[in-house]
């Protein structure tokens, strides 16, 4: 069995976890602690943290529950990306580490810090309430339990993927707009709102939509795709965001200020190119000053990481644009009227 023994030894490594620490009762600001432990291949980041807690430093604090990628408790930033510690293999992370054999572990961003790797989740629950993230059944409660709504598989598929969300807040932590403005609705909440809106058993579609197009709502999104890229359940969050926007234009026209400006920019893009020019969208919506103040610093970082949407000249018109434009003009007729009214005021 010498073979397997050698194999075994080769698969052990000293790994350093550089962990964000903060105890509000004693620390004035956060700092990092290095824990170096010998690990074998096949260990998850969560198991490594558990090991550190049990054998090295019992005060190290993080959330974890199911340890199976289903409860959403253990989301944290590992090597600068928000993800679940329990589904992340240490060996995979080591390949991404900037410093050899060092894995950086930090709490999620965009939510208030409580201690070490634990952040406050209440703001997210608050937003679930604010945006009515529940089905408001068309059936009166007294009648529940007697017969099923009939729902086709096709209709079920409209919200199937969105209901995979485990509210881990990884996308919240990675969202570009939330970094500038914590009041922003949040990608997970947009996803959930969309899921409710496309459920034909729901009766509150209009009211929910009215909330979503207000300030800090769906129009603030920059389409940076970071939420979707970080989603631990690989949910196409952007489909939900586009879905809400299309729905808003279709069923409401544009009635709200920030949304109106954003929507115009949005429509102008679509009309001209059949595609969104996302790079210029925040400027046209929020004004140049706001964009400079809030988004540019981030945009620079994003360019370095090649994350920005393509700058305007590179966006090519999509095929079939003529037919689309015709349809689009018709659809946006009432928006124009709306706009006239506004400027006449």
């Amino acid at each position: 069995m010498t073979d397997s023994t050698i194999q075994h030894n080769e698969d052990k490594r000293d790994v350093t976890f550089r962990v964000h620490r903060f105890n509000p009762q004693v620390d004035s600001k956060p700092y990092f602690d290095d824990y170096t432990i010998k690990l074998e291949k096949g260990i998850t980041v969560l198991r490594a943290l558990n090991y550190i807690k049990e054998h090295v430093d019992p005060s190290l604090t993080f959330r974890a529950f199911c340890q199976a990628g289903i409860c959403g408790s253990c989301a944290m930033r590992i090597n600068n990306m928000s993800k679940l510690a329990c589904t992340t293999q240490v060996w995979d992370e080591l390949e991404k580490s900037r410093e050899p054999d060092v894995i950086k572990v930090e709490p999620l961003r965009n939510l208030p810090l409580i201690k070490d790797l634990v952040v406050e989740m209440d703001p997210l629950v608050g937003k679930m309430q604010q945006y009515s993230n529940w089905v408001d059944s068309k059936m009166p409660e007294e009648q529940w339990g007697r017969k099923e709504f009939l729902v086709s598989e096709e209709e079920f598929l409209k919200y199937d993927k969105a209901t995979d969300c485990i509210l881990c807040a990884s996308c919240v932590s990675e969202c570009t707009i939330l970094r500038a403005n914590r009041e922003y609705v949040s990608p997970a909440i947009l996803l959930k709102s969309y899921r409710m809106n496309v459920d034909n058993r729901d009766a509150s579609h209009e009211e929910r939509l009215a909330g979503l197009v207000k300030d800090h709502g769906v129009w603030d999104c920059t389409h940076c795709y970071r939420c979707q890229e970080s989603c631990v359940k690989h949910i196409p969050i952007m489909d939900a965001i586009h879905g809400i926007r299309e729905d808003a234009l279709e069923s409401r026209g544009v009635k709200d200020t920030s949304g109106a400006r954003h929507a115009e920019a949005f429509m102008e893009d679509i009309e001209k190119k059949g595609k969104l020019v996302e790079a210029t969208l925040p400027i046209r919506t929020n004004g140049l000053a706001w964009t400079l103040r809030n988004l540019l610093p981030m945009a620079f970082k994003m360019v370095i990481k090649r994350r920005t949407p393509p700058p305007p000249p590179l966006v090519k018109s999509t095929k079939g644009i003529d037919a689309f434009r015709a349809e689009f003009r018709e659809m946006s007729g009432h928006v124009a009227k709306d706009h006239e009214k506004k400027s006449g005021e």
Partner: protein, 567 residues
């Protein structure tokens, strides 16, 4: 402080349904749901398979009657037949109710809720939403509770009941975010804290917090527990974490192989091989390990589930989730390597002894869900019946508590009770010469239970287990909490959870020793057959002078006579 009408401990399926139903019964009630984690993270979300209900959407000839019979037979005749009748006849209504409030379900061609076959059921009656049924049910209930404005106290850890003679005055809990101990004076308390199978620690498919807190609290307050020796094992848990590799892997043709390279199932089920019934396959794996034909590793002995011969294409197309799981949690790609597996503790049939309304012997205290024991599962739970149990009996308990709440005014919880708790918790942090690490004790607890009170049990081994437990309890008195901060002290919480598991483990072992027969999940090698003359009865456990006192209760019979359980 004005007392709450109802304090619900636990935000899983059982707790949330109780809250909804209580508000529906009387919208004016002051209800609190206390949960040590955010409710949407509760272990209910782990249930993939589905929930049973004789909707007859798929098999038109399915009936409630058949569901009742399957459940009683599955329980090895230890379930109470009147309770099973409630469970199964309420099932279609509660699944429709969930549907009506917005739960996503997979659908059949005729647009009704989809149903699939499940072990031990005579008809395909398991209602599902892809492989995330528990998750979608839990999300929906949480959303609906938010809609109704249920008051949540999230990240509060329940410590103990406050008792006045024969009656509860409410609950004492630790606010995890602040470290403050708070009183929840209450007219009624409903425990819905889930199962205790995590006491098998690394040999359990359960979440880290399924530590039986509610059962332990009730037990300490003098409320009897019931049928604690019945713990269900699943054959293929991952070696390191205990997480489930679902039956699908064997269904597609995976082999179970021992260290000698043998497909050992040929010894136990020559025809069905890997596809034999769950308990038989679990016992076969255990035998191979016990007889020295397992692989050895620091994480314990194990066997191989080999999928390599199925080929990369089939594994990628038919078993993507299983492959992903093995890579995430074990670092093993089943296309290239066999999966290391061993049986894993999965579900706890026992729990707080209740009647068909969720009432315990203590006035004002209720229990529902996996933490209660009505009993509808008897000696062995059928797949898909647990989600149903938590919904049906969560609702019944919620209604019963709402009706009772008006009738009683508890005396207040006194400050000295709170102070006493504070001192108790502080004492864990006091330095003493010799100390023990909770992590070590926890692992040893899982190990001795797995070894001595696991799948195969016999008097000598169980006695060894009982000795080990006594030693662990002694060592626990030296456990020290090193994190002395008030804010989010998970070190303290985990120690408190360990204490609860140690208390309950004693009842599991005591029951395993006294029950000299084999029934359902309880297999005694020294008493290999079912003994209805002596053991067709429930066991109960009451805490007396620091140890469980055993008692017995008759099984409520009905239409179905005792029969041999064969499939």
């Amino acid at each position: 402080m004005k007392p709450f009408d109802i304090v619900i401990v636990g935000g899983g399926g059982a707790g949330l349904y109780a809250a909804m139903e209580a508000m529906k019964t009387n919208a004016g009630l002051n209800i609190a749901v206390i949960s040590k984690i955010y409710p949407n993270r509760s272990h209910t979300s782990a249930a993939q398979g589905g929930a049973n209900a004789a909707l007859a959407n798929k098999a038109k000839d399915d009936t409630v009657e058949m569901h009742i019979f399957d459940t009683i037979k599955g329980s090895d005749y230890l379930a109470d037949q009147d309770a099973v009748e409630v469970l199964c006849s309420e099932a279609p209504k509660i699944i429709r109710e969930l549907e009506n409030m917005g739960t996503p379900w997979s659908r059949l061609d005729d647009k009704t809720i989809a149903q699939r076959p499940f072990g031990g059921a005579g008809r395909p009656r398991c209602c599902y939403c892809a492989d995330k049924t528990g998750h979608t049910i839990l999300q929906t209930l949480y959303e609906q509770c938010l809609r109704k404005g249920v008051q949540f106290f999230n990240e509060y850890f329940a410590l103990d009941l406050s008792v006045d003679g024969s009656r509860s005055k409410g609950l004492i809990a630790l606010n995890v975010k602040t470290g403050k101990i708070e009183a929840f004076p209450a007219k009624t308390v409903i425990f819905a804290t889930g199962g205790y199978a995590k006491m098998y620690w690394n040999r359990s498919s359960n979440a880290a917090g399924n530590t039986g807190d509610g059962q332990a609290i009730a037990y300490r307050a003098g409320i009897p527990l019931k049928d604690m020796e019945f713990v269900q094992f699943h054959p293929t848990g991952l070696r390191k974490s205990g997480l489930l590799v679902t039956e699908g892997a064997r269904g597609e043709g995976g082999y179970l192989v021992n260290a000698l390279g043998e497909r050992f199932m040929s010894r136990y089920a020559p025809e069905k091989m890997e596809l034999g019934p769950r308990d038989l396959v679990s016992r076969s794996l255990e035998t191979e390990i016990l007889e020295g034909r397992g692989f050895d590793s620091p994480a314990g002995k194990y066997l191989h589930l080999d999928l390599r011969h199925l080929g990369a294409d089939l594994i990628k197309s038919r078993l993507p989730q299983i492959r992903e799981m093995c890579m995430y949690f074990e670092g093993v790609d089943p296309i290239e390597e066999p999966i290391p597996v061993r049986p894993t503790a999965h579900y706890s049939m026992g729990g707080i002894d209740t009647d068909n309304y969720g009432r315990t012997v203590m006035e004002g205290v209720y229990a529902a869900g996996e933490c209660g024991c009505v009993s509808v599962h008897g000696a062995n739970r059928l797949g898909g019946n647990s989600l149903l149990d938590i919904l049906v009996f969560g609702r019944i308990a919620g209604r019963a508590a709402a009706e009772e709440a008006g009738k009683f005014d508890p005396s207040p919880i006194r400050d000295v009770e709170i102070l006493g708790k504070e001192l108790e918790l502080r004492s864990f942090m006091q330095p003493s010469g010799h100390y023990e690490r909770y992590g070590t004790l926890r692992e040893e607890l899982g190990h001795t239970l797995g070894q001595n009170v696991g799948i195969y049990r016999e008097a000598s081994k169980i006695s060894k287990g009982i000795e080990d437990l006594a030693a662990l309890k002694e060592r626990f008195s030296h456990v020290r909490v090193f994190d002395t901060s008030d804010v989010y002290n998970t070190n303290l919480i985990q120690v408190l959870e360990l204490r609860n598991m140690l208390d309950l483990a004693e009842t599991v072992a005591a029951g395993a020793l006294v029950r000299e027969e084999s029934r359902g999940s309880h297999t005694r090698t020294d008493f290999p057959t079912r003994d209805d003359d002596n053991w067709h009865r429930h066991t109960t456990y009451t805490l007396e002078k620091g140890a469980p006192r055993l008692g017995f209760k008759p099984v409520t019979m009905g239409r179905y006579e005792l029969q041999e359980r064969t499939y």
